[in-house]
């Protein structure tokens, strides 16, 4: 390919993370000359999905490269240890994500994917049951017949979170009083915005306190409701103001696309697949893509033409452009740092993915939450952090997601507890999850990767970017996609295209397509 040196562009987008890629999609029909580069050899940035080999290489280089990731290590248990008889398939059979996320049904991202017509290139799968771990959950133990096990809301130490009235109705564990309390809360949450007087006074209180005082929700039910918030903070730190909209979002999303589920994910790599589709669209619209190209530091300098800016690339090439779009260091919202682990497991863990409802699509994933204090605490922790460690969230992905071969599954675990202790907590959670699933042979880990994601936002000299440079705040590390990312993309898009009648991410099909009916 010819050199980029001395080329002129309208827009240079740095990095192929989700935000930048959505911007590229938004600009794909604008007729602007777009250069989209990424210093990695793969698309997606922090939202990428890699094959196992690539992930291992990435882990080796992580500390020298990015500010986003650190402290990465890969573990491959010896074959003899995993008595499961299963072994890793070829590296390309896997596509593991760095930042897996759930996409709630009413997310504006889905609406934009539809209005921009790229939804046709994506396949969405249902996210299934939410489970909560409790060491107090008495083991259902007995060899229940398959039919009751299907409907059982208990699996070892895991309790299924009821996601609506019909779930509450069928639950075998809750007594009438608990069912009534839960239903009363569900009715409240359906319209909580209109009843601020009911929760105003509890705004800054922990959500659990609000539940007890206002709804007399028994202790056993608080963890499941908290689990629905996907809060990275401990129980005492999750406020009512934080929790209410998130629980509402979860419950209001159920049934929107089909019975029994409220969130979806894209097949073949989640957001990384959205990135691929978005970049492809921009390329079709004339955008130029170059991987393995980064900005040197400092990369931006003034140019003679006051309309343009000069960029210096790592190989020494100089290009000029009207606009530069990059991701800055500022964290947008949510936790700034997470410890993560990815584990390939030798079993499909089907018991965690029971069918959702009559005639609902099979779930491709499940969410398992380990609330504060549910994992054994060491005396040292108790002294340091008070009684509470933050929760652990594990997303369980089946092979239906296309991210691992049939017969296996992937556990994506995360916690906001930093450092080695965070990794230990993750490890305990993964072990606890695998022992709750009683199968023979027992499920075992075949491969795992752990890393820290995000940075301590202590160094926050958020400098004003120079003229012509537009910066995205880092995307949220929230486990559920945060729609405000789209607001940021829209703002940048607006700056670039200026005033006009075009609508953001609304396109006609490039070619006439067949009937919309499926």
């Amino acid at each position: 390919m010819e050199t980029l040196d001395k080329t002129k562009w309208d827009v240079v987008i740095v990095g192929t993370g989700l935000q930048q890629s959505l911007l590229a999609l938004a600009l794909s029909r604008s007729g602007k000359k777009i250069l989209h580069i990424d210093e990695n050899k793969y698309y997606g940035g922090a939202e990428a999905a890699l094959a196992l080999q690539e992930a291992e290489e990435w882990a080796q280089h992580v500390d020298t490269g990015s500010a986003t990731f650190s402290n990465a290590a890969v573990t491959t248990p010896e074959l003899s240890q995993s008595g499961s008889g299963q072994s890793l398939a070829s590296a390309r059979a896997y596509s593991i994500e760095f930042s897996p996320q759930l996409l709630y049904a009413r997310s504006s991202l889905l609406q934009y994917l539809v209005s921009s017509k790229v939804y046709r290139q994506l396949e969405f799968l249902a996210v299934g049951s939410f489970w909560v771990y409790s060491k107090d959950t008495s083991d259902a133990g007995d060899a229940s017949s398959p039919s009751t096990a299907e409907q059982s809301s208990r699996l070892g130490q895991l309790l299924k979170v009821p996601s609506g009235r019909e779930d509450v109705f069928q639950d075998q564990v809750l007594d009438f009083k608990a069912k009534r309390a839960l239903m009363k809360f569900l009715r409240f949450i359906a319209e909580y915005e209109e009843h601020t007087e009911e929760w105003e006074e509890h705004k800054e209180n922990p959500f659990s306190v609000f539940l007890t005082e206002k709804f007399r929700v028994p202790a056993a039910l608080q963890a499941p409701l908290l689990a629905l918030t996907l809060s990275p903070s401990g129980t005492a730190e999750t406020s009512t103001t934080y929790a209410l909209p998130r629980v509402a979002r979860h419950l209001r999303s159920i049934g929107v696309f089909g019975p029994g589920f409220g969130a979806v994910q894209a097949k073949w790599g989640g957001m990384s697949e959205v990135v691929q589709v978005a970049c492809r669209s921009c390329a079709v619209g004339g955008g130029v893509y170059v991987l393995g190209k980064g900005l040197s530091n400092p990369g931006v300098s003034a140019s003679e033409d006051s309309d343009m800016v000069t960029l210096r690339l790592k190989d020494g090439e100089t290009i000029s452009t009207k606009w530069v779009v990059e991701e800055g260091n500022e964290v947008s919202s949510g936790p700034s740092q997470l410890c993560r682990s990815i584990t390939v497991v030798s079993s499909p863990l089907a018991q965690l993915l029971p069918p959702l409802a009559e005639e609902a699509p099979s779930p491709a994933s499940a969410v398992v939450v380990f609330p504060s204090g549910s994992l054994p605490l060491r005396p040292e922790d108790a002294k340091e952090h008070g009684a509470e460690l933050p929760p652990v969230h594990i997303l369980v992905f089946s092979s239906d997601t296309g991210e691992c071969p049939a017969g296996q599954s992937i556990l994506y675990a995360s916690t906001s507890l930093p450092g080695d202790r965070g990794f230990q907590l993750l490890s305990m959670a993964v072990d606890a999850l695998l022992s709750s699933v009683k199968e023979s042979p027992s499920p075992a880990a075949l491969w795992s990767l752990r890393y820290e994601h995000g940075s301590d936002s202590s160094d926050d000299t958020v400098s004003q970017p120079p003229n012509h440079v537009l910066r995205f705040a880092r995307p949220s590390l929230d486990l559920a996609f945060d729609d405000s990312a789209l607001d940021r993309v829209k703002d940048v898009w607006q700056r670039i295209v200026g005033a006009g009648t075009d609508e953001f991410l609304v396109f006609e099909d490039r070619e006439p397509v067949g009937d919309e009916d499926e």
């Binding site: 049904a105 009413r106 889905l110 609406q111 539809v114 209005s115 939804y119 969405f124 009235r165 019909e166 509450v168 109705f169 069928q170 009438f176 009083k177 069912k179 009534r180 309390a181 239903m183 009363k184 009715r187 929107v256 696309f257 089909g258 019975p259 409802a357 009559e358 005639e359 499926e518």
Partner: protein
Amino acid sequence: MASHGVPRTAAAAVRSEEARQKELHQIEAYKELVELVNTKIAERQYTLEVLASVTTLLNQNPEYYTIWNHRRRILGALMQTPATKGEGSGGEDLLLDDLQLTFSLLRKYPKCYWIWNHRNWILRTAEKSTDLDRAHHLWSGELQLVGKMLQADSRNFHAWDYRRFVVAQLERLDSSRISASEQVDPTVVKWLESEFEYTTKMIKTNLSNFSAWHNRGRIIPLLLSRQGADDRTRRHLLDEELKLISTAINTDPFDQSIWYYHQYLMSTISPGCPQHRRIALDLTNHDRQKYYEHEMEYINEILEDETDCKWIYEGLLDLAASYLEVDGGTKAFTTRDMRSWLEQLERLDPLRCGRWRDLRQKLNI
């Protein structure tokens, strides 16, 4: 996925003159077609050509029921003319084509009586000229179709009604394979049991499914009688149903369908219930008393958590009235209790004050 919750951009409110002219032409064309069809029918031209015109017309307006009648005339005539080639299966082909046509129409108009009716006619007609196995196959296909329609809209009462009809046909066909002398017909029982299971499934999917509860109530006495169920089995079923409904009421006392089924169960217990509708046949007044007391007890408990649910007070008053019928004394509750429930009803549902006044008189409080 069929719907993404995306608001479709509204059609432009301002219709151009062009659009208006286009519409006027469409209206003209439609009127001409109706003219044409009616003329041809009057002339008794029951040909394939006229059938095609009828098809076009019905695709535009399936609610025009007279045209469906015409269609059946044409089909009847066509089926009688000797086949021009091959075996006499030309008739069945015509009918099968109509099944296709009505299938796609049903998806667009799932609540149009005439389409359901026409399918019914097709299947009954097809059955006359074919063997038992083929007939069974056709009706089974129909049951599957109804299942799919109910999946799309589980509260479409047309579909529920049609389902009962189709199941009855399948029962009939199955029974005709069995000697009529058998007291307990296993195939009928099999159908009733599977239909009962079906209502369980629908209710678990959506507690507010009035049609599912209704169907369940219709099946139970039939099932018990066809099974030749003994008193113990009957009592067991009654207790199971009461348990089910009490869980439902405890889950969502605000849902009317659930209370409806509760009323149904209470009606089967009441001494005034006709024999063929009873579930348990051996109830004494003492038994009835115990049932009413139990119901009132758990419903009363719900008042601890929900004070503004009118169904609860109505339910309690109904039970109180029933209780009084089978027992002179008022050990389970007092007149004062009844008055206070009535006051709550007056408070929660002031629009029906006339009705509550009536109830007050009837109950003598």
